[in-house]
């Protein structure tokens, strides 16, 4: 992938360090960042996103060994500490409402998911959205879906027994169930091409705001740290459990707007697939992990709450922009439209 333009002191320092090995002086850079703002900070979230991308593929102009450069890792960890603290603040109330209560863990995770009232982008797009807005939604989702389920595969070696088998079964489905042409990341790339968008990983990064990047960053933060395994699973469960119904509406929106069939096909696949995946994640993966101890249960509920609340914030930003007749994407550097 290609490094996007820097958008502040954090990305400027990080990108210089990645390309030229310029020493990273992160301590003074981070003083301005605290609290809630971290969750939507365009500069910090882009810096984190690029730090995580190093683990997945080559970045143009960056030596591959920078993936394990100690300065880069220390920088990432400093950003993560602030991000994680903000996520704990964000999720505390919801975790408190649902963790360590009477009743089955799976039931409580579904109830928690249904209790978080986010703005419904799919309802808006289903009834009123136009082609530009649906394309913008695909652009936002590309921050994750071009590598759909890749972060979650990192949880597999950390599990054992029935939970491992259930996650493997789910991932097999995400990774095409034996048919390369059915890889969900490939289906998503085809939907992007059909909608006239650049399907390269990170290709639209310069247009994506911090609120959007925070969703993928939370996944990678949780999935890369073994200590956050329960949170990573709760996050994945909540993600899957908010997909089936919205996908049904988004498939209908794509048809109403006459987009090429590949767009609806991507969402169609997720109606049936995620009706299965949400059950597997909450009941066959999260529940046994939560049963392993009180901290694990708290972690599972924290991950689920963080996922839903970040999605709600990102979704609200899109709806607010659309309601005021604006683009939900950051302005293009060269004033170009979102491909064509």
């Amino acid at each position: 992938m290609v490094i996007p333009p820097a958008r502040g002191p954090l990305t400027a320092s990080l990108f210089a360090a990645l390309v030229d090995g310029t020493p990273l002086a992160h301590t003074d850079l981070l003083t301005r960042l605290d609290g809630d703002g971290v969750l939507s900070d365009d500069d910090l979230q882009l810096a984190l996103w690029v730090c995580y991308a190093l683990h997945y593929e080559s970045v143009d102009g960056v030596p591959d060994d920078r993936e394990w450069d100690l300065d880069v890792l220390a920088f990432r960890q400093a950003l993560e500490e602030r991000f994680l603290a903000a996520l704990h603040d964000l999720a505390a109330e919801v975790v408190d409402d649902w963790a360590h209560r009477e009743g089955d863990v799976g039931d409580r995770l579904f109830a928690l998911t249904d209790s978080v009232e986010g703005p419904s982008l799919s309802r808006h797009l289903h009834r009123h959205g136009d082609v530009v807005q649906l394309r913008e939604l695909l652009a936002h989702r590309s921050a994750y879906n071009l590598r759909e389920s890749d972060p979650q595969a990192l949880a597999l070696p950390r599990l054992d027994g029935p939970a491992k088998v259930a996650l493997a079964e789910l991932l097999f489905d995400e990774f095409g169930a034996g048919r390369p042409e059915r890889l969900h990341s490939t289906l998503f790339a085809e939907a992007m091409v059909a909608a006239g968008l650049d399907p390269r990983y990170g290709g639209l990064l310069d247009r994506l705001p911090g609120t959007t990047l925070a969703i993928t960053n939370a996944m990678n933060l949780f999935h890369l740290r073994r200590s956050l395994l329960p949170a990573s699973l709760g996050h994945f469960g909540a993600f899957e459990a908010t997909s089936s119904e919205p996908s049904r509406r988004l498939a209908a929106a794509a048809r109403r707007l006459d987009l090429p069939p590949a767009v609806a096909a991507y969402f169609d696949e997720h109606v049936e697939a995620d009706a299965v995946h949400e059950q597997l994640m909450f009941r066959a993966v999260c529940a046994p992990v939560a049963a392993s101890g009180p901290d694990a249960e708290t972690g599972v509920f924290f991950g689920a709450a963080a996922c839903l609340l970040l999605e709600a914030r990102a979704g609200q930003a899109l709806l607010d922009a659309w309601t005021s007749g604006e683009s939900s994407l950051l302005p293009a550097a060269d004033d170009e439209q979102l491909a064509s």
Partner: protein, 73 residues
């Protein structure tokens, strides 16, 4: 080799079927299966019968709202 089929009911939700190649519904239609696990709708309100599409949760949400019961269990 005999294929093993298993059925796992999800409380308040679908029936998960593993190891099936097709599902025949009452009207004689045969639905082929191309994923390792499928969720069979049990609320009968899915828009993609015989498959679950998550509608049971929308129904339960509606019922909870009517009952005024929004507090966590």
């Amino acid at each position: 080799m005999t294929a093993r089929v298993s059925a796992t009911p999800c409380p308040g939700g679908p029936l998960l079927l593993r190891g099936v190649e097709e599902v025949e519904t009452a009207d004689g239609t045969v639905h082929s299966v191309d994923r390792p696990v499928v969720a069979l709708c049990r609320c009968e309100r899915s828009q993609r019968l015989p498959w679950c599409d998550g509608t049971h949760r929308a129904l339960a949400r509606g019922a909870r709202r009517t009952a005024g019961d929004v507090a966590p269990a």
